[in-house]
Amino acid sequence: MPSDEPLTAEHVLEFPGGYTRTTGPVIGRFLTELRAGRLVGVRTAEGRVLVPPLEYDPATGEPVTGEYVEVGPAGTVTASAWVAEPLATHPLDRPFAWALIKLDGADTALVHAVDAGNPKAVAAGTRVWPVWRGERSGHITDISCFAPEVSKIVSPVRSSYRLKAGGALGVFLEGIGRGVFVGGRCGGCGKVYVPYRLSCPECGILLAERTELPGTGTVTTFAINNLPDPRAPEVPFVSAYILLDGADVPMIALVGGVPAHEVRHGMRVRAEWVPENERTPSMASVRWFAPTGEPDVEL
């Protein structure tokens, strides 16, 4: 069929199984030491240590001495380039840096990959250590990559407890199970506390009476949380101090039904309860406080 486009065909140039090369004694020594998990350089007649070793001194053209010197394993980056999108042929399949690394005791720099996580973690001066491949065969990739010095670790922390709500908390949560906020009024100063408690922290005397407060209130302050929490529906979520109408101290609760950045001091909110048949004596029965739409309150 005639066409303006030239005919095309795929063509691959390949040595199946790879091309076998002899290493010679100098490169062979380096690769043999590498297989044993050691890094060596070779000393030149002038006393410089070349890493990786060459058969000649590039400065003079003279053969190197037969003296091999163990170097590293750590080294200092002298230049680096960040690969945001690795190619299939690269040593790492995630973003990494190429670097020139002057191993401790060497006078020249080794080219290798640095698994640094992000481009800011590697620069001239960064100290790096080799990460060895599990199975070594005498190949430059016996070092899978280099990595910056260890400067932090992650410590998992998780402990389980069983909490029992006797006393005042039990009274408050029993109220939540019924869909009301139970508070207490001090006979001395007259302040109303919610959640319900047994004594007035100011006067130090037992509270005189229980009182039930409405589910409406005002946000006095709040925080936008960006770390997930099992008690919150999604990230980010807002936890706020809410001063219930008729109370003298605020209580902490979630604010929802509004984008986090729209929550503000003085915002009027109302408790949003889960359906009655799902309610339990637990704060989970209050889904969150949602804006009422009333004008803000001057605090």
């Binding site: 690769l31 042929t89 190429w98 290798h112």
Partner: protein, 339 residues
């Protein structure tokens, strides 16, 4: 030294895509152009520069001879290097004194493969190639070592592209520079474009040069120097071999009206400029340079040809053509041409 001059130069209208022309078909027009310009049909010596890996075909340079007319047998040679080194070999050959003319050509099609990963094959097979270190990655290590400010790099690319748009043989590349990094700090715009093309030069010695050309561009200095291959053995922020080549070509380049530099990445231009100690008033790459057209294996020869062209047309009296090979400007050739 025998006086040798560039008496003719021709290049293809380079393309950023594969037109489907074979290599002999790409070369034939430029060979014919320099034959017509000089009136020569046969040459005392012929030398070409190309790389078989670009087309993935062994001895592809042999089939390229079909474009020359090699029967009865001609005296011919080839370098697996940029055509600039074929020109050097031809210059040396003319120093022997038994022949007076030489045809030099270089050609390359980078559109057929992936030049970025193909260039890994030029690296040493023990320490570098197994890492998959690609062309942009090793260039980025040099760019990082050189630390050229971004504004300076962008200005080089914009100037090169603007000059390239005025050059009918170079590509038309836009003035807007995409900011996406390929390998930080190298951005896509810092790279020479994928290009297919060819170029040819005729050298003539002694009296023949004056017969063939009204204003021959005399080679008053030519030398090449090389550095260790392994990147960690070099100071990548400088080009010691380019500086050495310039000193060897001529003891101090002195005033130079035009310098065509083989800088395939924007950051290579300031490194070379410093190494060659070019005066501030030297015009760099008025053709657009490799950043406007990079037919690999002809690009260096084109630098020398473009410089010679300024002498041929009478717009300059003293010019420099530079060519580079190997990773991170490992190998440098400097040619000084004078009216």
């Amino acid at each position: 030294m025998r006086q040798v001059a560039i008496v003719a130069f021709a290049q293809s209208r380079h393309t950023g895509h594969d037109t489907g022309l074979s290599e002999p078909e790409l070369i034939l027009p430029v060979i014919n152009e320099v034959k017509d310009a000089t009136g020569l049909k046969r040459f005392g010596f012929t030398c070409s520069g190309s790389c078989d890996y670009l087309a993935g075909a062994p001895f592809s340079f042999v089939s390229a001879l079909d474009a020359i007319g090699a029967w009865p047998p001609i005296s011919e040679s080839h370098v697996e290097m940029d055509g600039a080194w074929a020109l050097y070999e031809a210059w040396v050959r003319l120093q022997h004194g038994d022949v007076d003319s030489a045809l030099v050509y270089g050609f390359g099609k980078t559109s057929m493969g992936d030049p970025r990963t193909l260039m890994t094959l030029q690296l040493d097979p023990y320490y570098l190639a197994p890492l998959g270190l690609d062309q942009v990655s090793f260039a980025a290590l040099q760019a990082s070592a050189a630390g050229v400010p971004r504004e300076e790099l962008d200005a080089i690319v914009r100037r090169s592209r603007a000059d390239g748009r005025r050059n009918p043989f170079a590509l038309d590349l836009p003035d807007e520079l995409p900011a996406d990094p390929v390998v930080e700090p190298v951005r896509a715009s810092d790279l020479a474009p994928v290009t297919d093309g060819a170029a040819a030069v005729v050298l003539a010695a002694g009296e023949l040069a004056r017969q063939l050309c009204e204003r021959p561009a005399y080679v008053t200095g030519i030398a090449h120097r090389i550095e260790p291959h392994y990147l960690g053995l070099r100071d990548l922020a400088r080009s010691a071999s380019a500086a050495d080549a310039a000193r060897a070509a001529e003891d101090g380049l002195g005033p130079v009206e035009v310098a065509e530099l083989h800088a395939q990445f924007a950051h290579e231009e300031p490194i070379l400029r410093r190494a060659l100690e070019l005066p501030d008033d030297t015009v760099i790459n008025p053709s657009g340079g490799p950043l406007a057209a990079n037919p690999v294996m002809a690009t260096g020869l084109i630098r020398i040809g473009e410089a010679a062209r300024r002498v041929h047309d009478g717009t300059a009296r003293r010019v420099v053509g530079h060519a580079a090979g190997g990773p991170c400007l490992q190998h440098n050739l400097v040619t000084v041409l004078e009216a």
